[in-house]
């Protein structure tokens, strides 16, 4: 009987902790337990056997940390360790299990590293480490893979993909929540459930961190959302510090009693973690072996997630921000071509502030590599914005790659009724999980009638089901077409929306703005159509959150339909305002240069816009912007102005430059940028705040900064300097341990690009240190690089 068959037939028992047992058998401090698989085989066989004899159906191999990231410089290969570990557990199963099967699970623990961008481990390297383990485990004869004690959902995703793509074994996953129900990296319970179910694991749950009493409410929360078997493996209580040593207090009997309550809630796989022993498992087995298995009820919730939280579609209308999209926006196109991620991120932040629940991300331009751009933009967005994303592309490869690297359960925009589209998109939806937008068009185009659009929706849902994608993960877009070309098109769309929602029982989405294309004052039509669509059952609208009219519709609709408790959201938005039009007090009497000196961002932008109506952009830069910046720079040098003020002025100047850019873009004028400068935080270093400060200041002085980011290998810097013929390179490093990489970078640059100058800075550097590693200039503070750039490049 396979483990999955056993799972449907009765409560399944895992083993308990091994750490303490190994110590009792003589494992010394600092000794690697994984080595014992080979050198002290008997000890492991005894421990495993003990658990099987206590009632465990599954034991975990002693391979928690047997990955190449944790284990190196040892005498054995990963494969040797894993092979021995599986063998030990199999011997134990053979010895202990008569008339029943003892299952051996390859145990995969976390890498012990933090993934990029917060740490230095790449998703690919994490994947490769888990892949090596999974392959070795299957080859050695493991019955299943258990990925456990995970505290980062992104690392967990890498491990699940590695297990599923490289083996045919069932995959179980357990993570560590704190008492508030959060992973250390911030994901909540619902997010973990959504992501893991989406990835198609066979069972999921929690282990470690908490005791059985604390896990009860978390177990309930998981069960509310989960449609697959749930695993609970607590510690023997909360760890307590006794003379600096960790101890656990919950006895086997107390453990078993607490677990009984958990099993009664509907948990079907149980075991123990730290501090639990064969005695705990024996008691657990005795208490729960005869429990009836509760049926697992599928939860029909349509859920997407970021890495922190989920958004459920179907209760209150959901807003999907449409602004991250180059269509018809020349400034956005420019930002994409220049890889100006700051600009794109600001579009994201502003939509989040305005109330978007999900952000649509479309970066398709004919002359850029869409796959690369989509992944870069998505990673940048996810590193600072915690909203779920809707990946919007018609490029299947770009979609597949984006879903692979997405941290969470994404929205997928889109599939349509064409066979070609469904053949391409459904397999990747099935593989990575996600909620897919189904457009009601097919080989014959967009049908005019609601009935025909309904038919296509039905075809999409049926085909998805044949791929194993449930209806809850489909959201239908019946397509809004402009009323300027067909005056009945809005009514047809609303009719289709209603039919799809009522008769197919599926969630709905619309790109609302299309409705008014070609008409004057589009907001009037769009916002009223938006209200009508919500009334007809629209679950998610893709809208412009910057439009007050649209947001008015949204808040008013919720208030009018009883979705807004005591109208609190409405009051929060509009209470205290004398009228709908907001007048912001912007110190209208302050000049542009004063606004920059005082660091008033909003006013600087407004003053620049005002002045640009009368004077040329370049004149404004030379007569107002630069002199103001110089004034602040000199104050900083003298010590009368401090870093925060210097940067506030820089930000104000940046806002003014943004106004200049827009003006120049409109007049078709091309902004003349000064020379290019590379900025990079050297390999091994992930502290880039100093580099970012310098970047803001250099950009103020119109230098074209090529920001290579942090943890940048010397080769990348050299290649960029050569390929773009860049004469000035700024390098930053924070710690003594990374200055060696700075030295290496300088050496390679001097060898391969002798005509470039290198300026260095960072907490640990001094003039002497900079001289020693061969830098051309040591920048003691943020402004020093600007002055050096002016000296070298003009």
């Amino acid at each position: 009987m396979s483990i999955l068959e056993l799972l449907g037939s009765r409560i399944v028992f895992f083993d308990g902790g091994t750490g303490t047992l190994l110590q009792q058998k003589g494992l010394q401090a600092g000794e690697l337990p994984e080595i014992w698989n080979i050198e002290k085989k008997q000890a492991l066989i005894e421990i495993h056997q003990n658990y099987f004899e206590s009632g465990s159906d599954i034991v975990l191999t002693n391979t928690f940390g047997a990955n190449r990231i944790k284990l190196h410089d040892i005498d054995y290969s990963i494969e040797q360790i894993i092979t021995a570990a599986v063998e030990n557990a199999k011997i134990a199963a053979k010895n202990a299990c008569i008339n029943r099967k003892g299952y051996v699970a390859l145990d995969i623990g976390p890498s012990g590293k933090l993934l990029q961008p917060l740490g230095d481990l790449s998703f690919e390297n994490a994947y490769a480490a888990f892949q090596e383990m999974a392959i070795a485990g299957e080859k050695a004869g493991a019955d299943l893979i258990v990925i456990e004690t995970m505290s980062d959902i992104y690392e967990t995703k890498a491990a699940v993909l590695a297990a599923k793509e490289n083996t045919n074994l069932p995959v179980f996953v357990t993570v560590v929540f704190d008492e508030k129900g959060k992973l250390l990296t911030g994901s909540d319970v619902n997010t973990v459930v959504a992501v893991l179910e989406g990835l198609g694991v066979d069972a999921l749950g929690i282990n470690c961190g908490l005791g059985p009493h604390q896990m009860l409410s978390l177990a309930e929360q998981i069960l509310e959302n989960c449609s697959i078997p749930v695993i609970i493996k607590p510690n023997a209580g909360l760890p307590r510090n006794e003379n600096g040593k960790t101890v656990f207090d919950v006895s086997p009997e107390e453990f078993a009693q607490a677990m009984e309550k958990i099993v009664d809630k509907g948990i079907c796989i149980v075991g123990g973690c730290c501090g639990t022993t064969p005695a705990h498992i024996k008691a657990l087995y005795e208490h729960c072996k005869n429990k009836t298995l509760l049926p697992i009820i599928p939860k029909n919730k349509t859920i997407v997630s970021s890495y922190t939280h989920t958004v459920e579609i179907g209760n209150s209308p959901i807003i999907i921000g449409e602004r991250i999209n180059p269509t018809g926006k020349s400034r956005f196109k420019q930002a994409l071509r220049e890889k100006d991620f700051d600009y794109i991120l600001r579009e994201g932040f502003s939509q989040q502030q305005k109330g978007a629940h999900i952000l649509d991300v479309n970066v398709g331009l004919p002359d850029i590599d869409e796959t690369q751009m989509l992944i870069s933009v998505m990673k940048e967005l996810q590193s600072v914005i915690d909203l779920p994303l809707q990946i919007d592309t018609s490029n299947v490869l770009a979609m597949e790659q984006a879903l692979r690297y997405y941290n969470g359960k994404a929205m997928i925009n889109s599939v349509n009724g064409k066979k070609e589209s469904m053949d391409a998109i459904f397999p990747i939806v099935k593989k990575y999980g996600g909620v897919v937008v189904g457009l009601t068009l097919d080989e014959n185009g967009i049908p005019e009638t609601a009935e025909k659009r309904f038919d296509i929706a039905q075809k999409i849902i049926n085909t998805a089901q044949s791929y194993g994608i449930s209806k809850k993960d489909i959201i239908i877009d019946v397509l809004a077409m402009t009323i300027s070309s067909d005056q009945f098109s809005a009514l047809e769309t609303l009719k289709a929306l209603h039919m799809v929602k009522q008769q197919l029982g599926v969630k709905t989405i619309l790109g609302v703005s299309n409705i008014s294309f070609g008409l004057p004052q589009r907001e009037i039509i769009t916002s009223h159509f938006y209200t009508m669509a919500m009334q007809y059952g629209l679950d998610a609208g893709i809208i412009n959150t910057n439009s007050d009219a649209m947001m008015h519709s949204y808040y008013a609709y919720r208030a009018l339909t009883g979705l807004d408790n005591n109208c609190m959201n409405y009051i929060e938005q509009y209470g205290g305002q004398s009228s709908i039009t907001l007048t912001t007090h912007l110190h209208t009497d302050i000049s542009l240069s004063d606004a920059i000196i005082k660091g008033l961002k909003e006013r600087a932008k407004q003053a620049a816009e005002e002045q640009l109506q009368q004077i040329e952009p370049l004149t404004l830069i030379n007569t107002e912007l630069i002199p103001a910046l110089d004034h602040v720079g000199k104050g900083f040098e003298k010590g009368s102005i401090f870093l925060p003020q210097l940067l506030m002025s820089a930000e104000a100047a940046k806002a003014a430059f943004e106004a200049v850019k827009i003006k120049m873009g409109k007049s078709g004028e091309i902004q003349t940028k000064k020379d290019k400068i590379i900025l990079a935080t050297v390999k091994g270093d992930i502290h880039d705040i100093g580099k970012n400060i310098v970047k803001v200041l250099l950009e103020n002085y119109s230098y074209d900064v090529v920001d290579l980011g942090k943890d940048v290998p010397p080769e990348t810097i050299v290649e960029t300097a050569i390929s773009q013929n860049i004469k000035l390179i700024g390098l930053s490093a924070l710690m003594t341990t990374t200055v060696t990489n700075m030295e290496e970078t300088i050496k390679q640059l001097h060898d391969k690009k002798p005509d470039c100058k290198i300026v260095v800075g960072g907490a640990v550097l001094t003039q002497e240190y900079a001289d020693m590693i061969g830098a051309d200039y040591y920048a003691k503070d943020a402004m020093a690089t600007v002055y050096y750039a002016q000296k070298i490049l003009g």
Partner: protein
């Protein structure tokens, strides 16, 4: 911890204000940053007591970890037990820093300084708790001493990470270049001694970079 627990003057010192008081605007941003950090971060710490022996400049912890450091051996003089301690503001602090680096660099810089003050204050509070427990056994705690102070090599970060099981316990990891990730984190050794010997050498004062503008001293506000 509350906003008022965090010494603002430490934030000003990290920002390089030395003996100047920042403008009211900056002061209010400092308060915003501190409260944003306290709201968003899940701050964790862990520690364990280990036996230690000191042979001249060599410190041996838990019978197998060897540290060569003149400064640390002086700090641990006459101790035969040490606490290894680690604390972190978690990934949320880094996310906030990154976010403001994109939208408001001046706030990012203030956030950075505020985060440093928050983690230091948190460590101080943890240390006081530990001191209370030890006092019951008539034992005393020496000041925190971290890798990177004086000649205590950063490479020893790895010993903290391993001995304290930091990735699993508090989500604190080490990069290949021995940098702590999340970045707003502290590891430290604290000696346990039977005598209440006052120890002047703290981190900042132990540093040889005496002309540093951030140095703690009498002239700072």
């Amino acid at each position: 911890m509350n906003v008022k627990d965090i010494p603002q003057k430490e934030v000003f010192r990290y920002l390089g204000y030395h003996n100047t008081i920042p403008s009211e605007t900056i002061q209010s941003v400092v308060i915003d940053c501190i409260s944003e950090l306290l709201n968003h971060c899940s701050i964790h710490h862990t520690y364990k007591i280990f036996d230690c022996t000191i042979q001249h400049t060599k410190i041996i912890i838990d019978n197998h970890v060897i540290i060569e450091s003149k400064n640390l051996s002086k700090n641990l003089n006459e101790c035969n037990q040490v606490i290894l301690f680690a604390a972190t503001l978690g990934v949320q602090a880094d996310i906030l820093l990154k976010k403001y680096s994109h939208i408001d660099m001046s706030k990012a810089v203030i956030m950075q300084a505020a985060a440093a003050a928050v983690i230091e204050e948190y460590c101080d509070q943890c240390q006081m708790e530990i001191e209370k427990t030890l006092a019951k056994q008539k034992l005393f705690l020496r000041p925190r001493f971290s890798p990177g102070y004086g000649d205590f090599d950063l490479i020893h970060q790895k010993d903290f990470i391993t001995l304290l099981d930091c990735p699993r316990k508090i989500g604190l990891t080490l990069t290949n270049s021995f940098l702590l990730a999340p970045s707003k984190s502290v590891t430290a050794v604290m000696g346990i001694s039977k005598t209440n010997k006052h120890c002047h050498i703290k981190g900042c004062e132990a540093c040889t970079k005496t002309n540093c503008i951030f140095r703690r001293g009498d002239d700072a506000i």
